[in-house]
């Protein structure tokens, strides 16, 4: 039953006969594969790296864990960002702006 080799994005294009029974997901931890960023309908957040002071307030506030924090600074995971704009509102230095997707 489990088809571990096929990525979720491909699996969701399969015909109904190949759909897992009852829509059961046979691989654990697969929610990261699901692109909730596709639900974003209006604008996406864009970070001006020159203004960013790396305070991580956006990282704390993001309800979708779509702010990625690493040594380079702040980047946005557009595959999971739903475009709610909380980060843009909360940024104390206005480094995040909402732009057309």
């Amino acid at each position: 039953m489990s088809e571990k080799k096929i990525p979720l994005s491909e699996k969701m294009k399969l015909p109904w006969k190949n759909t897992p029974i009852a829509g059961v997901i046979f691989e654990p931890g697969s929610s990261a594969e699901y692109r909730t960023g596709d639900w974003r309908v209006a604008k996406k957040p864009v970070i001006d790296q020159k203004k960013c002071i790396k305070c991580w307030i956006c990282w704390i506030f993001c309800p979708d864990v779509a702010i990625i924090r690493d040594e380079k600074g702040v980047t946005i995971d557009y595959a999971h960002c739903k475009g709610c704009a909380i980060c843009a509102v909360e940024c104390p230095v206005k480094a995040i702006s909402m732009e057309n997707d």
Partner: protein, 416 residues
Amino acid sequence: MFYKRREEYNEVIIPYQGEGITVRPQELAGMGGNEAVAYAAKQANVDVVAAYPITPQTIMVERFSEYVANGEVDTEFVCVESEHSAMSACVGASVTGARVMTSTASQGLALMHEVLYVASSLRCPIVMMVANRALSAPINIHGDHSDMMGSRDCGWIQIYVENPQEAYDWTLQALKIAEDPEISLPASVNLDGFTVSHAMEDLNLLSDGQVKEFLPPRKPVFKVEPENPNTVGAFAMPDYYYEVKRLQEEAMRKVPEVLVKVTKEYEKTSQRKYGIIETFDMDDAETAILSMGSTAGTVRSVVRQLREKGRKVGAVKLWLYRPFPSEELTSAICDLKALAVIDRAMSFGAPYGPLCSDVASILQDCESKPKIFNAMCGLGGRDISSDDIRIMFDEADQIARTGVVRDRIKFVGVRE
């Protein structure tokens, strides 16, 4: 208990004319429908029962909890605070791979409604006895089909039984059909409230060994287990939901084939023959009555009386209501001149009651369409007498003669 083993009956041979079938003596017991289902659940070694008592189903839960208390079964009996919780517990138990049964009626079934869909969509082969009872208001505890017809489209296999013997036999068969890996869908066994649920009759029982052989432990298609984690009941968006539902419908379409296979196997063990529909005197019949549940017995009795007077009448009984046996039914009714379809539930404002609507929708498959009319009767436990059935046959005969259906729905037995 008084209905357990009656030694003097152990040597009784059940008469049966089947070919090449060994007739074994069977145990006889006096049981009502509720007790018959509880006894079948005991023999089937059900793993989990979560149920809440409601008239006219109470005795089933009561008897089964006695088996649990006496240590006659090792079933996990979950005491819940409502039917909604009962069905939720059943779904949870079923996805772990357990054999699960429950039972309810009327308002209880209505309270379960949303979870019924979860059970069928998550492909939980739960078997539920429904002691069919009228829905409020006015509050009424007696038999009609309003409750199950209200949950008609919930994706459950629906079987209607005529008497306690059928209730016992179909409970065992329903477990096997529901748990078939090709199907894996829940099934309801419907007993007319009081008429079947409480009527005490002589029952032929299989031995525990025969049941064990007929019904081996369930082999689930999938199950939740810590060693092999998976997600059951996940969210599905417009890009995925439809495919899951299409797959569910495919399982439903395979039911008749599996049902026939299971009934044949059961016949070899029990010497009792079941199937999708039952026909009576239909070979040369010009008019007939289609019914489900306990009414079918009254109809057959009237058919015998009318046949003696030379009238060409017949009777059809549905055992399987969902999936609807379109092919079997068209081959039985297409050559008739007129057919009365008995409904024991209203579908307010609809052209016909629920069963008659289904029958009307398959008539387009008939080359010569019989005229049909809907005989509404037996609501809220109103008696369905032989005279009522005769009125239906008279109406059908008149329609056959004149070709005119005066009323789509004839309300039989209501005070005019």
